[in-house]
Amino acid sequence: MVKSYRPRTLEEALKIRSETRCIPYAGGTDLMVRYRRGAGLAAGFDQPVLFIGQLAELTQIYEKNGELTIGACVPYREIIHQRHTPEILRQACELIGAPAVQNLGTPGGNICNASPAGDTLPPLSVLDANLTLQSLSGERNVSILSFFTGPGKTILRDDELLTAIHFRLPHFTVEGYRKVGTRKANALSKVSFAAFMLKEKEMLADIRIALGAVAPTVVRSRELENRLIGQPLTDLAKLLPEILESYGKLILPITDQRSDANYRKTIALRLIENFVLKEES
C-alpha cells in the first residue's frame, strides 16, 4: 500500500513534491486504468500518490486580454462549456471518452501522461500553448512542443507540477479538427489532426498543423509550415507533394491492436492535403 497525500493548497502540494517522489493524480482517468489490478483490489501505484484535482489554484479557467488560461485540473467538461474555448480544442475534449470521463479527466493529466494519442495535444500544439511548470524554487513557462521527449516522457521535474496551460485566442480564417478513432464516440485515436490557416489577399499568411497518434510525440513542424507561409494560394497544390513527402518523414506510426502503421500514415497525409487544398477536415 502506497502513501498518499491530499494537500489543501498548491504550496503544500509543491512542498510534498519537493520532498517526496510521487505521482500527481489529477482526474485519475488514465492512472486508474494504468495501475488497475482488478475487482476488489486497490490500484497498484508504485509510488506515493499526490492528489491535486481538488486544488483551487489548478481548477480555474478564464480569459484575460485575449489569453485563455486553463488550470491543469479543469475537467474536460468545463473546457467544453467555457465560451472562449477555441472550437478545435472543444471538439477534441468532446471526443475524449464520454461525459462521465469528461467530468473527471483533465488536460493536465492528458499532457503529463504524454501518450502519443493524447487528444488535447494536437489542438494545444497548433494553439502554441505554453505550460506553466511550478516548483517551490519558482516557475518556468515552456512551449507544449518542447515538453515531450518521448512516449510517456516529458521534461517535468520530480519537484514540479504542471499548473496551467495558456495560449492567445487564435484569429485564423480556417480551422480544422478531425479524430479518426476506433468508433464514433468514446474511442481512442488512430490518428488525430488539428490545424489553422490564415488567408490574406490570396496568400497563405499563416498555417499551423499538428498530428497525434502517428509518432512518439505530437507532430508539428514550423519548418514545413514556413515553406507554405507566404505562398500564393494558387501555388499550394503544386507545392504540397514535396511538403507531404517531408511530413511523411516525421510521421512514424506503429501497428497495434487498433490500427496499422500504413493506414495511420496514409490518413495523416490525406488529412493535411485535404485541409490545405479543400479547407475540410
Binding site: 464520454a98 468514446n186 493506414y263
Partner: protein, 710 residues
C-alpha cells in the same frame, strides 16, 4: 389484423433491474465467502514441467486437477475439455489452478508469486497450420468434425454450366460482449453441492458437475442468478467456471466465488468461430444458378466443445434462402491452439449467410446483373426442398416481406442515385435475406425431450417450472404472458423464478431460439390442460414433454431430411456512407421485416431485432478480434470495440404475421434470426458505395483503403 397477444406488456423484470435491486452473481455475498482467481497458461502449447508455489498461509488454498473428485473433463459432445489443465496446456489462458482465500489482496499476491515452468511444444496457430497437420493436436488430421451432403446432381450441372464463378469469404472472431462478465459461486454443505451463477443452461451445468464430482443427481443443485446478457457465451463456458468453484467449495468447505475480470473474460471465454468459406456456382445461359458448392472451414480452437453442432448449423444455412437444384455442401472444424470457439447467437449461421449472400452479390456483379433482382429470381418458395432434402411445408411470405422492405427503405431509387454519386462521401445500400431454423438442429429436441410444468398455487396463482432462463431476451415476460393468457389470469399472478434444478424439470437449455417455440408450446399445452382441470384440486401440477411431430423426418448419419421443424425469416436493408478521405463508414439507416410467426410481445421482439442487428453490424464493421502467438490482441473494451449509442443507426422494423401450428399462439423463433443478415447487408452496402467486391468481415477502413486506393 394485429394479433392481440402481440400488444406490448410492461417487462416484469424492468423495475428491479433499473433500480439496481436485481441480484447478479457478483452481488451475492454469503457469509464466509472465499474468492478465487485463476492461474492461466501464458502460451499456446506446452508441457508444464514445474509449478513453484510460495508458502500458502492458513485459510488460503491452491485448487487444481488433483482436487477433482470425479472426472476432469467438461461433459459435452466430446469429453475432451479439461476443467483444469493436464500436463500439457493447449491454449493461452488455459486454467492451471485456482488460488482461493478470504482476502482478495492476499489471493492476488499468492497468484502473482507462483512460477510455472514450461517446455514449449509446436503450436497450431491457424486453420492452414491445422490442415497441414505437421504436429497434430487432435487425432491425426486436427479435424474435430467434418460433414458433407448433396442434393441433385451437381457434377452434371457443373459440367454443363455456361459459367462457373468462385469466391472465398472470411469472417473473424466475434465476442459476445455481454455486459455482465461470467461468474459462479459454489458451496458444499452436508454432502450437497450448490452452484449459483450467470448461465443459460442449468442442466448442462448440472450434468457437467455430476461428471466432475461423481456425485448423485440429488447431491448437485444448480441455480441461475440474474444473468446480464449471454448471447450464447453462457451456453457451454459456465460449466467450466462452475467446475472450478465446485471443486474449490468441496475442498475448502466454504462458499467460493469466481467472477472473471473483463479482460480475462475477453481473453479466455468462447467466441464465434472464425470461418473461411469457398463457394463455386454453376450458371446456365439464362443467368440462373444451376448448382452451388459450399465448403466451410471453422477454427474450433483447442477443444471440441460444441463446434460440431455449430458447423452443422453453418452447413444447413450454407445455401441461404435460395432454391438451387443441385448442391454440394462440405465443412469441417479444425483444432488449433487457440482459445476454444463456441456458441454465439446464430451458431454458425451468420458465417454461412455472410458467405452465401456475398457470393450471390459476387455472381450478380460478374454477370452484370442487379444483385437484388438476381437474388429474387432464386428465392425459395413453399414446397421447395432444402439443401438436405427437407420440405419447406409452411407458407413463405418472403416476397411480401421484400416488397415491404423495398418500400420502407426506398431501395430501388437509392440504388440508382447512389451508384452515380461522386465526390468524397459515397453512399451505398445493400440487402440480405435470411432464415433461421427454429430449435435444435436435427434430432436435438428428441434427445433432450424437454418437460415443462405449471403448478397451481393458492389465490388464483400459478407457477411456471422450467429450466429456461431470463437472460435479457424477455423470457420472464413472454412465457408468463403465454400462460396468463390461457389461464385467463393477470400476468402478475403467474410466477416464474430463476430456475433451480432442485425445483424444476429439465425443459432443456436456453439456446437455439427454442425457448418460445418449443418450451412456450409445452407451457401452452400444459396451461390449456390446467385450465380445464383448474377446479379439480387445490394443488395441481400439469407437465408436458416434447413430442416430435411425426411428419418431421431426419437422418443424422446421412444429414438428410428436415434439419429443423420450422423456419423464421428476415430481410434487412442497410444504407451506409463512406468518407473516402479516411474510409470510415457510417450506417445511415436500417430497414427490416421479420416473420417470426406471431410475436408474443411486439416490443420484446423489437428489442431482439434491434439488438441482434446492431450486434451483427458490429460484427461486420467495428468488432475486430485477432490473434498473435495464439492470444487475442484485444484485451479490453478499449481495444475490442462494440458500437455505442452514437454508432447505432435508427432501425425501422416491421413484423409480418405468419402463424405456426406448433408454436404458442402461432409463434416461431426470433432470438438469433436478426443477427444473420446484418453483416452481409452492411458489406453489400459498402461494396455498392465503393464499387468493390467485399469478401471479408470485419470491413475495416484499413482494408478498404488498400482495396479502393491504388
Amino acid at each position: 389484423m394485429k394479433n392481440s397477444i402481440s400488444t406490448p406488456t410492461d417487462r416484469l423484470d424492468g423495475p428491479e433491474k433499473a433500480s439496481g435491486k436485481a441480484v447478479y452473481t457478483d452481488d451475492i455475498r454469503p457469509e464466509g465467502l472465499l474468492f478465487a482467481r485463476t492461474l492461466r497458461a501464458d502460451r499456446p502449447r506446452a508441457r508444464i514441467t514445474a509449478i513453484r508455489l510460495p508458502e500458502i498461509p492458513d485459510n488460503y488454498f491452491i485448487v487444481d486437477r488433483n482436487d477433482v473428485p470425479g472426472r476432469n473433463r467438461i461433459k459435452m459432445l466430446e469429453d475432451d475439455w479439461p476443467f483444469f489443465a493436464g500436463e500439457v496446456i493447449n491454449h493461452v489462458g488455459e486454467p492451471i489452478l485456482l488460488v482461493v482465500g478470504p482476502d482478495r489482496e492476499k489471493v492476488a499476491d499468492i497468484l502473482n508469486s507462483i512460477e510455472v515452468e514450461y517446455e514449449d511444444l509446436p503450436p497450431v496457430l491457424s486453420i492452414d497450420d491445422a490442415i497441414a497437420a505437421k504436429s497434430p493436436i487432435f487425432g491425426d488430421d486436427n479435424c474435430f468434425a467434418a460433414y458433407s451432403f448433396r442434393k441433385g446432381d451437381p457434377d452434371t450441372a457443373f459440367s454443363t454450366a455456361k459459367t462457373v464463378i468462385e469466391g472465398e469469404f472470411k469472417t473473424g472472431y466475434h465476442e459476445q460482449a455481454y455486459m455482465e462478465p461470467q461468474g459462479m459461486i459454489g458451496s458444499y454443505k452436508n454432502g450437497k453441492l450448490t452452484v449459483t451463477g450467470s448461465m443459460q443452461c442449468p442442466f448442462y451445468v448440472k450434468n457437467a458437475m455430476m461428471q466432475l464430482t461423481g456425485f448423485k443427481e440429488d447431491a448437485v443443485q444448480i441455480i441461475q442468478a440474474t444473468t446480464g446478457g449471454a448471447f450464447g457465451g453462457k451456453e457451454e463456458y459456465p460449466s467450466l467456471l462452475a467446475g472450478h468453484v465446485a471443486v474449490a467449495a468441496i475442498k475448502t468447505g466454504k462458499p467460493v466465488k469466481l467472477v472473471l475480470e473483463r479482460g480475462e473474460d475477453l481473453a479466455v471465454t468462447t467466441k464465434r468461430h472464425p470461418s473461411v468459406s469457398r463457394y463455386r456456382s454453376a450458371i446456365d445461359e439464362n443467368g440462373r444458378v444451376i448448382a452451388m458448392e459450399a465448403d466451410i472451414t471453422l477454427d474450433g480452437g483447442a477443444y471440441a466443445g460444441l463446434s460440431a453442432v455449430v458447423l452443422q448449423r453453418a452447413l444447413f444455412a450454407a445455401i441461404g434462402v435460395y432454391n438451387i437444384p443441385n448442391v454440394t455442401v462440405r465443412g469441417r472444424v479444425m483444432a488449433t491452439n487457440h482459445v476454444p470457439s463456441g456458441a454465439f447467437r446464430g451458431f454458425g449461421a451468420p458465417q454461412a449467410f455472410f458467405a452465401v449472400e456475398m457470393h450471390m452479390e459476387q455472381i450478380a456483379s460478374e454477370l452484370g446483373m442487379n444483385p437484388l433482382t438476381f437474388k429474387e429470381i432464386h428465392l425459395v418458395r413453399q414446397g421447395d426442398t432444402t439443401s438436405t432434402g427437407g420440405v419447406l411445408r409452411d407458407e413463405i411470405k418472403i416476397h411480401e416481406m421484400l416488397a415491404k422492405v423495398l418500400k420502407m427503405s426506398n431501395y430501388r431509387k437509392k440504388e440508382g442515385i447512389f451508384a452515380s454519386k461522386k465526390g468524397r462521401f459515397r453512399s451505398g445500400i445493400g440487402l440480405a435475406i435470411y432464415l433461421h431454423g427454429c430449435g435444435f438442429t436435427g434430432k436435438g429436441e428428441e434427445i433432450i425431450k424437454g418437460t415443462a410444468t405449471i403448478r397451481k398455487l393458492a389465490e388464483d396463482r400459478a407457477e411456471i417450472l422450467i429450466s429456461n432462463v431470463e437472460m435479457g431476451q424477455g423470457a420472464q415476460t413472454t412465457l408468463r404472458k403465454i400462460v396468463a393468457r390461457i389461464l385467463e389470469l393477470p400476468i402478475q399472478n403467474i410466477e416464474y423464478a430463476n430456475p433451480d434444478t432442485d425445483r424444476v424439470p429439465d425443459s432443456g437449455p436456453t439456446v437455439a431460439s427454442r425457448t418460445v417455440i418449443i418450451v412456450g408450446h409445452l407451457l401452452e399445452s400444459a396451461a390449456k390442460e390446467l385450465k380445464k382441470r383448474w377446479n379439480e384440486s387445490e394443488t395441481l401440477s400439469v407437465s408436458k414433454s416434447y413430442r416430435h411431430p411425426s411428419y418431421i423426418q431426419w437422418d443424422q448419419d446421412k444429414l438428410q431430411g428436415d434439419a429443423y421443424p420450422a423456419y423464421s425469416w428476415g430481410i434487412v436493408a442497410v444504407e451506409v456512407e463512406v468518407d473516402t478521405l479516411t474510409y470510415e463508414t457510417a450506417v445511415k439507416g436500417v430497414w427490416t421485416v421479420h416473420d417470426v410467426g406471431i410475436a408474443i410481445d411486439e416490443e420484446i421482439i423489437r428489442g431482439q431485432i434491434e439488438g441482434g442487428i446492431l450486434q451483427g453490424l458490429g460484427y461486420a464493421s467495428l468488432e475486430v478480434m485477432d490473434t498473435a502467438d495464439g492470444a487475442y490482441r484485444q484485451h479490453s473494451f478499449t481495444d475490442y470495440i462494440i458500437p455505442t449509442s452514437v454508432d447505432a443507426p435508427v432501425i425501422e422494423s416491421e413484423l409480418i404475421d405468419n402463424p405456426y401450428e406448433y408454436g404458442p399462439f402461432g409463434a416461431k423463433c426470433a432470438g438469433e434470426l436478426p443477427i444473420a443478415g446484418a453483416a452481409p447487408a452492411y458489406a453489400a452496402a459498402v461494396s455498392h458505395a465503393l464499387g468493390i467486391e467485399i469478401h471479408e468481415i470485419p470491413v475495416k477502413p484499413e482494408i478498404l483503403i488498400k482495396r479502393a486506393v491504388k
